[in-house]
């Protein structure tokens, strides 16, 4: 399963949830749309495995952080579109600040100030 993904970065546990919530910040999207948005948004570095994406979507839906609705796409196709709930927006804000703290801390360790 891992064979084709050697040169891509594996997502950290929990990061996918943050990415999904972030992607949905600008409006409802369906599963394929979310995966494309993450892919293009990351400059093709992050490719979301569908085997992770759909479980994550259904898990977030169960946690009531996002809600799903069947709508018609621009190509006149029935699609299941997800959008953030109020709880999801709060969660997104919280996770974003967590992420910032984490990256700052990581950066501090990985790039020690000159002279140290």
């Amino acid at each position: 399963m891992k064979r084709g993904y050697q040169n891509r970065i594996e997502l950290l546990q929990g990061t996918l949830d943050l990415l999904i919530l972030q992607t949905l910040q600008w409006g409802p999207r369906h599963g394929y749309g979310i995966s494309q948005a993450i892919r293009t948004g990351s400059g093709e570095v992050l490719q979301v495995d569908t085997g992770s994406l759909y479980p994550a979507l259904h898990r977030l839906e169960r946690k009531k952080l996002i809600k799903a609705e069947w709508t018609v796409s621009e190509y006149n196709q029935q699609v299941k579109a997800y959008q953030l709930t109020a709880a999801g927006k709060k969660q997104l804000a919280a996770e974003r600040s967590n992420w910032k703290r984490l990256t700052a801390a990581m950066a501090g360790i990985l790039n020690p100030p000159e002279g140290a």
């Binding site: 369906h30 599963g31 569908t50 759909y54 169960r62 796409s73 299941k80």
Partner: protein, 868 residues
């Protein structure tokens, strides 16, 4: 749920389809051909089935579905190995069944609360004399009771009760003997139970003209046809007419299955040392503890001892919760048996674990293939655990059915004096216990093999090709540890059984002081109303014993206040004073007082050591005489001839009695208790006792004479029933029945334990022989003698057996102490039993090793080598 689920499935399909459609459209827009686009979109998406599967897991059903899968697979595996499954299920069924059965007895007898409101607040008083190491079995004098009642504040109420039997006569119905109780009005308040119809007994009834009575529900139903107008009607109780004023609710029969409650009239002349017949129970205040109440009672007892040294020297009272008191005789035995079956279950589990381990190696390839196909470790463990839990559940189901039969059997063979047997059965708590045991058992014997299997390195297994390779030493060590513990546990049980058997045999050989063979006994209670004059009663019993002695097949007949070994009747505990030499308080031991008819000693074959027995010439008008037992002669009249000396007996202390004879000590309450002082007085000189036990020594079978003896009673008084008809042999066996039952059950359990342990050791050796076929073949081919091979295999088995036996012995040294209360005449570490039982176990283990070892020597080297 199913429809909803189908809907969700369809929705997921649609979602994935739309994903693929969108991906395809993007690709076509980027210039791929529709066919290319479809293939690439699918490739990019990955395994559709897997995505669906992992997504579904998010819905929360997946675990359930997997469980069903595992269960199905587990059932299939069991079905495919019927031999293994049958052995495992039956082993477990026996373990779980016996545990459920014994636990249901423990539950019914010990755990279920007594059927009274807030029953945990009920306590019973036990009179004790710690200096002299005696307990009077819980009887008290009224003056002591009054002091407890008036000088304590820990009790909500406290009440004295007299248990008796009496004759209920009716106009048309046959006279019948029933247990009844004399109680004070506070009885109902203390028990917290009141009549469901009519009223309870009141203080005013003490001075009323009519005697009033409260009936039990059962008696009202049975004898009075549930007559709704029973209140106010008259019944005749022991010759006394009473008015029924109430009926107690169904099931209430305290104390001692009482059917009628009447008033215990106050008697201001009661003596303080009259510790006799009256039991005392109390209800603690909700805020008070037993310890607080006990310290108040201790204070009062100390003061009474100072104030009344003659009657109260050394006496105090111990409080016990009514529940503990009720079950005090059986508690240790029951807990011990529960421990024993617990051990049997552990051994059964170890055996099944061994079976599973052996089978796990056969399944290593299957498990490796599953791992290779993507099953995670957790998944494999879960599946193997599901299988063992399934096995445990099946064993539990069969065990439950078995326990149903075992409970019936246990109740049937239990001695009648085991309290609360009617409470024993399968109830929610027992079922919960069984389910708990099944769960624990399934985990216990399933976890080791499961962890083991999941740890196996899959490359190694698969590389082995078709050959099922031999196991490492590690697995053999697990086998060996399991068997060692089996041996240790079964040795522990066997030693326990051995100790119990030895004490039972010693107990049975105890000389009770009389000859119980061929003696028929029955109780005759003359009602005071019809025999108001003691001389009438004396005439009745003189005539009765004469008529019965004259019956063909009768050797002798006598009557006594109460039979030995707790046969029946009331024991009267008193004291006596030798003339001219008052007893020191230390000498004043508990004295059992008997009135007897002249032929009583002859009937019971109680040897008269010196002096004479009573005769018909000892009457109310002749000089007062008494016979003492050996203990009094030895301790009070040491070195002198007691014959002709005079003592004053409690009952008629205005005049002394002359000692005319000394008889042997008789075991009054239990075989394992030393005899106290015993005093015998001729019935003719103390005929105030209506209730006597008739004893008849017969030439042949005692039971055969029952109707003739009853006929003799009816011929004197047609309204006089006899009850409690039994032989002295019955009384004798009943007195050892508890010990016997515990011994029997313990013996059965330990034999099963031995059997299981030998199967265990056999299995391990057989398994190891099968594994080493190749090695043994080589050894034989290289010239080893069969004797060497035999020795090698047997040594391996005996190592396990001896380590197990050593641990078992060590455990037994530490553990048999808890049995001490059940043992008689044998120490808890009796060397003979310890050594003998260990030898027995070693021999059985040797046999269990020898059979597979023998098979090993039959290995044909050619076949063993070619087999590779």
């Amino acid at each position: 749920m199913k429809f909803w689920r189908q809907h969700k499935d369809e929705e997921l399909d649609a979602e994935i389809r739309s994903h693929l459609d969108e991906a395809m459209r993007d690709r076509i827009e980027r210039g791929e051909s529709p066919d290319e686009a479809r293939v690439n979109a699918l490739r990019e998406f990955g395994n559709v089935g897997l995505v669906k599967e992992v997504t579904r897991e998010m819905w929360g059903w997946a675990t359930l579905k997997q469980m069903v899968q595992d269960l199905r697979f587990g059932l299939r595996m069991l079905w495919k190995n019927p031999g293994f499954s049958l052995v495992a299920i039956l082993t477990l069924a026996f373990g779980i069944g016996t545990n459920t059965a014994i636990f249901s007895v423990v539950n019914g007898v010990l755990l279920k609360p007594l059927p009274y409101p807030d029953a945990e607040r009920l306590v019973r008083f036990e009179g004790i004399n710690p200096d002299r190491g005696i307990s009077n079995g819980g009887y008290h004098s009224m003056p002591d009771y009054h002091d407890w009642q008036s000088q304590t504040d820990a009790f909500e109420s406290i009440t004295p009760i007299v248990q008796q039997n009496t004759v209920l006569t009716g106009d048309e119905t046959e006279a019948e003997n029933i247990p009844f109780a004399k109680v004070t009005p506070s009885f109902f308040q203390t028990m917290g139970v009141y009549p469901f119809m009519g009223r309870a007994l009141l203080k005013e009834d003490e001075v009323a003209d009519d005697v009033v009575a409260v009936l039990s529900y059962g008696l009202w139903q049975r004898r009075f046809g549930a007559n709704p107008n029973i209140l106010g009607s008259r019944i005749t109780l022991g010759g006394t007419p009473c008015i029924v004023v109430g009926v107690m609710p169904a099931g209430f029969d305290y104390p001692a299955k009482a059917q009628i409650w009447t008033l215990l009239y106050p008697n201001p002349k009661e003596r303080r040392d009259n510790r006799y017949v009256r039991i005392v129970i109390a209800r603690l205040k909700p805020t008070a503890t037993i310890a607080e109440a006990q310290s108040q009672i201790d204070t009062i007892s100390a003061r009474l001892q100072q104030q009344f040294p003659e009657t109260n020297y050394g006496w105090s009272a111990r409080l016990t919760s009514l529940q503990d008191w009720t079950t005090r005789d059986v508690r240790t035995s029951l807990l011990l048996l529960l421990g024993a079956v617990g051990f049997v279950l552990l051994i059964a589990c170890a055996n099944v674990a061994n079976l599973l381990l052996a089978r796990a190696s056969a399944r290593r390839r299957e498990i490796a293939v599953r791992t290779a196909l993507g099953a995670g470790r957790g998944r494999i463990i879960r599946q193997l655990l599901t299988e063992s839990l399934l096995l445990a559940a099946l064993g539990g189901a069969v065990g439950l059915a078995l326990s149903f039969l075992l409970i019936k059997l246990l109740i049937a063979i239990s001695p009648a004096d085991v309290p609360r047997l009617d409470q024993v059965g399968l109830d929610a708590r027992v079922l919960a216990f069984t389910v708990g045991v099944v769960g624990l058992v399934g985990l216990f014997f399933g976890l080791a093999p499961a962890l083991h299997a999941a740890k196996a390195d899959l490359n190694d297994v698969l590389k082995e090709g078709g050959r099922s390779g031999s196991d490492g030493p590690k697995r053999n060590r697990v086998h060996a540890i399991l068997v060692v513990s089996e041996i240790a546990l079964s040795l522990l049980l066997l030693i326990g059984a051995g100790l119990l058997i030895k004490s039972f045999m010693l107990l049975r050989d105890v000389n009770p002081g009389f000859d119980p063979k061929n003696v028929l006994t029955m109780r005759v209670a003359l009602p005071g109303r019809r025999y108001p004059n003691p001389q009438q009663a004396a005439t009745f019993f003189r005539e009765l014993t004469q008529r019965v002695s004259a019956l063909p097949g009768v050797e002798a007949a006598g009557a006594v206040l109460s039979l030995p070994l707790g046969g029946s009747g009331e024991t009267a505990g008193r004291s006596f004073i030798p003339e001219g030499r008052p007893l020191t308080p230390e000498e004043a031991l508990q004295t059992d007082y008997f009135v007897v008819t002249p032929d009583y000693f002859k009937t019971m074959r109680i040897p008269v050591k010196t002096g004479r027995s009573f005769t018909d010439r000892d009457t109310g008008d002749t000089p007062k005489v008494v016979i003492i037992n050996d203990s009094i002669a030895r301790r009070i009249f040491a070195g002198e001839d007691p014959i002709g000396k005079r003592i004053t007996v409690w009952r008629d202390e205005q005049f002394p009695r002359e000692i005319v004879g000394v008889v042997s000590d008789v075991k009054i309450t239990r075989l394992d208790k030393k005899a106290d002082y015993q005093i015998y007085v001729p019935y003719a000189q103390d005929a105030g006792w209506g209730g006597m036990s008739l004893a008849v020594r017969t030439k042949g079978e005692p039971e055969a004479l029952t109707s003739q003896v009853r006929g003799a009673i009816f011929s004197i008084d047609k309204n006089q029933p006899a009850y409690d008809i039994k032989t002295m042999d019955d009384v004798f066996s009943a007195s050892v029945a508890n010990t016997r039952l515990v011994m029997l059950l313990f013996g059965v359990f330990s034999i099963f334990a031995l059997l299981l342990a030998s199967i265990g050791i056999y299995g391990v050796i057989a398994y190891s022989v099968a594994q080493r076929t190749h090695e043994i073949g080589i050894r034989l081919a290289l010239g080893a003698q069969t004797r060497d091979v035999l020795r090698m295999i047997v040594t391996q088995g005996m190592m396990i057996a001896l380590i197990g036996a050593g641990l078992g012995l060590a455990g037994a040294f530490a553990a048999t102490r808890v049995m001490r209360r059940l043992l008689y005449g044998v120490s808890a570490t009796d060397p003979l039993i310890f050594i003998g039982v260990s030898l027995l176990l070693t021999v059985v283990a040797l046999l269990a090793c020898y059979i597979p070892a023998r098979r090993a020597t039959k290995v044909d080297p050619m076949i063993a080598l070619r087999y590779e």
